[in-house]
């Protein structure tokens, strides 16, 4: 019972935070999120087989979730809104509370019940629940006036990258601190062929393949010198790559090449230097036409589609001869070799395939913002991705997705919104000296770090521990035994 409530608190905390930070009808969405997370995490912690027990469990978790969400709604509307001068609308609060409770209970209980089904049907059931929420989300966003849509799309881009990084770090156990480099390489490869920059202007649908292939090739190139390295050494070298790539991109704006004394080309602008490449072609589809920057819905479904297809293929890789070889490599490289695995090939494949997904993400991102700059791919992107992979549970795809969503939402929605609210509170309190503090940017990394430390202390195995995933980073695995 105690464990059950503690597990439900993960979802409940989300409901509370979202309701508190984004007022209005966002409370309803908060209830949905609380239900969704609890419905996923609770049966994960304690497998359910009996339907009636599942309903009971779901009700308890949903109860915890809705109480916390309602608390958030009430605190926001009665505590904060009056101070920051927003009018109190009792009817709206009532609707938010009822809506949040209904959605929380519904989603949580349905998900717990689905978990009692045999594996094949369970998977279909989960896919239907999650599918309905994902497909209706854009209209939910509009209807509830959430205005999260412009943040949801980059969140999905980061999730796609986290899934790729998970292949390298989670499956194969190769600690890669420079993974954002492949995001940059993919983005630039797509931008070069799909923009007026070189006059090529290929369609997005072709450019994305160019990006994937280029990223994979660079995965091989950057992976090969690291082959004999393990643990900490590998981390340091990949860290170096992560730094070199953006700097190289910044400086590849005047490239000259001559063989002996015959210049092949002089002062060619490969990457646009600090100015980047702009504009980049947007995707075009029949009926929809060219994707427009003002309508996020087609972009949302495009990146969602890319992600779902990626998940599908990654899980095929995971449950194959190659996936087993990756795990064996992570568990014991020497024994893996002795069991017939060509560790060099398998490592290179992990780097190349992992990089591919980052390349896809880069191509999408470039087209989405229609411009690309060297500054978008710094070290903190790599660290952020690594945190996403670790937080949810190393090596476990659904864990990585959940951890990724948490970190991304904390960073893109929660902190800015919270900063906004705090700002208004400060203004209302009339304290002039605090006025210039911008919480989102000044405290972002502090709060981010604090969240991670708390997570690691409270739940070191990650949010969704998988049986079969390592509990620690592969850094310490450097020592060699031979007997």
């Amino acid at each position: 019972m105690q464990i059950r409530i503690r597990t439900s608190m993960i979802g409940a905390a989300f409901g509370f935070a979202i309701a508190l930070i984004s007022g209005g009808f966002a409370g309803i969405f908060a209830g949905l999120v609380a239900g969704l997370i609890s419905g996923y995490v609770v049966p994960q912690a304690e497998p359910l087989t009996d339907k009636r027990r599942a309903v009971g469990q779901g009700m308890i978790a949903a109860l915890v979730g809705s109480v916390m969400t309602i608390l958030g709604i009430v605190l926001r509307n009665m505590g904060i809104d009056p101070i920051i001068g927003e009018p109190l609308n009792i009817l709206a609060v009532g609707i938010a509370i009822i809506g949040a409770t209904i959605l929380c209970v519904l989603v949580c209980v349905v998900m717990c019940v689905v978990r009692t089904e045999p594996p094949a049907r369970e998977r279909i059931g989960m896919a239907i629940v999650v599918g309905i929420i994902l497909v209706t989300y854009p209209w939910l966003d509009q209807f509830l006036n959430l205005r999260f849509m412009n943040e949801v799309i980059p969140v999905l881009v980061f999730l796609l990258m986290a899934l790729g990084l998970n292949i390298v770090v989670g499956y194969a156990g190769l600690l890669d601190l420079g993974y954002a480099a492949f995001f940059a390489i993919g983005a630039y490869a797509a931008a070069m062929v799909s923009s007026p920059h070189f006059g090529l202007s290929l369609s997005f649908w072709l450019a994305i393949w160019v990006a994937a292939a280029t990223a994979a090739i660079f995965g091989l190139i950057l992976g090969s010198p690291t082959l004999p390295l393990r643990g900490d050494y590998l981390a340091i070298v990949t860290l170096g790559f992560g730094e070199i790539v953006p700097i190289a991109i910044k400086n590849l704006d005047k490239v000259s090449l001559s063989i002996w004394n015959y210049p092949l080309f002089v002062d060619v602008d490969l990457t646009g230097g600090t100015k980047g490449i702009n504009p980049i072609n947007r995707p075009w589809l029949p009926i929809i036409g060219e994707f427009s920057p003002s309508n996020p819905i087609p972009w949302y479904f495009l990146i969602l589609g890319i992600m779902l297809i990626s998940i599908f293929f990654i899980s095929r890789l995971r449950n194959s001869r190659l996936g087993r070889a990756w795990t064996a490599l992570r568990e014991d490289e020497l024994a893996a070799g002795a069991m017939g695995i060509n560790t060099v090939n398998v490592k290179l494949l992990a780097f190349a395939i992992g990089a591919t997904f980052s390349g896809l993400a880069g191509a999408f991102y470039g087209a989405y913002i229609s411009a690309i700059f060297p500054e978008s791919f710094r070290f903190d992107v790599s660290v952020m991705l690594l945190c996403m992979v670790i937080l949810g549970g190393l090596g476990n795809m659904s864990g990585v997705i959940l951890g990724g969503i948490i970190i991304q939402f904390a960073d893109r929605l929660f902190l800015p919104q919270m900063s906004n609210v705090v700002q208004k509170l400060i203004v209302a309190s009339g304290n002039e000296s605090l006025r210039d503090i911008n919480f989102a940017s000044d405290f972002r990394l502090l709060l981010f770090g604090l969240t991670l430390v708390l997570m690691m202390v409270l739940r070191p195995q990650g949010l969704v521990p998988s049986n079969g995933a390592p509990r620690v980073l592969p850094v310490a695995a450097g020592e060699a035994r031979h007997d």
Binding site: L317, S320, R321, D332, A338, M339, G340, I341, T343
Partner: protein, 271 residues
């Protein structure tokens, strides 16, 4: 009778230490051969050199008529040598079945493209491998209900068996076992002795065994080679090794040799 494995002047040095010292060694095809010697004699180093974990400082290794010098561990495995480790080295966070399936890696052919499109060949290969893995677990006596347990959660004896199943999965002609009964009780040791015999008899796999349990060694081996401080000091039938003065000396130190000699005649064991 042909020799499946033959080394000539095999030497492995670590800095100033000569762990394996010009060893001429042969394993007859289809035999159960044992490699014994006191702690630190160089037995494990000999295995590691043969299986490509170490490159020999000098000397030759011929396996089924082909040189193994310079091959990588996975190439040695593909050539037909399977092995276990003295300190169990299973893939702890993989299930027992998965561990065995990893052993089949070099006998499987699925490539990235086939895996992504889930071709009929890949599906068939995967299903066959899984069935074969379960059969191997059964053959080494791992309880069926343990097949999907993570290998790190298995009892010690089962971990030792699983290592043998995983090595068998590489489809070897020669199986190297490094102290397979270490840490086992007499009952488990007796079972394992049977298992080793069955592997040779039923699967026609030649066995090279490192073992400290002299009762087992004397009972099971058709030929024994003794290493001491890296060098081969004796080789022959169990009954010859049992009464070999140099061997007794190596195990018990000079001085004690004459006394132990008499002792060994009485008990039939050099230790």
């Amino acid at each position: 009778m042909t020799n499946i494995l033959e080394t000539r002047g095999l030497t492995k040095r670590f800095g100033g230490l000569t762990a394996v010292d010009s060893v001429d060694f042969s394993v007859a095809t289809g035999s159960i051969t044992s490699l014994i010697g006191p702690n630190g004699a160089g037995k494990t180093t000999f295995f590691n050199t043969v299986t490509g974990l170490y490159t020999p400082t000098s000397g030759t290794i011929a396996f089924a008529g082909r040189s193994l010098v310079g091959l990588k561990p996975h190439e040695v495995t593909a050539a037909g040598i399977g092995r276990t480790f003295q300190n169990i080295r299973l893939f702890g966070n993989m299930t027992a079945v998965e561990n065995v399936m990893v052993g089949m890696h070099s006998r499987m052919h699925a490539n990235v493209l086939g895996i992504l499109v889930h071709s009929a060949r890949v599906q068939h290969e995967e299903a066959t491998a899984r069935a074969k893995a379960h059969a191997l677990l059964d053959a080494v006596g791992l309880p069926a209900q343990r097949a999907d347990d993570l290998s790190k959660n298995l009892p010690y004896g089962d971990q030792r068996r699983l290592e043998i199943a995983r090595a068998l999965a590489t489809d070897p002609q020669l199986l190297l076992l490094d102290e397979p009964t270490a840490g086992m009780n007499p009952h488990e040791t007796a079972e394992l002795t049977q298992l080793i015999r069955r592997i040779r008899d039923e699967r026609a796999i030649t066995i090279l065994l490192i073992e400290h349990d002299m009762k087992l060694v004397m009972e099971i081996s058709e030929s024994i080679t003794v290493l001491d401080r890296g060098a081969k000091i004796a080789a022959g039938l169990p009954k010859d090794i049992r009464s070999n003065e140099q061997v007794i000396e190596a195990y018990l130190g000079r001085g004690a040799a004459s006394m132990a000699h008499a002792n060994a005649r009485n008990t039939g064991e050099p230790t």
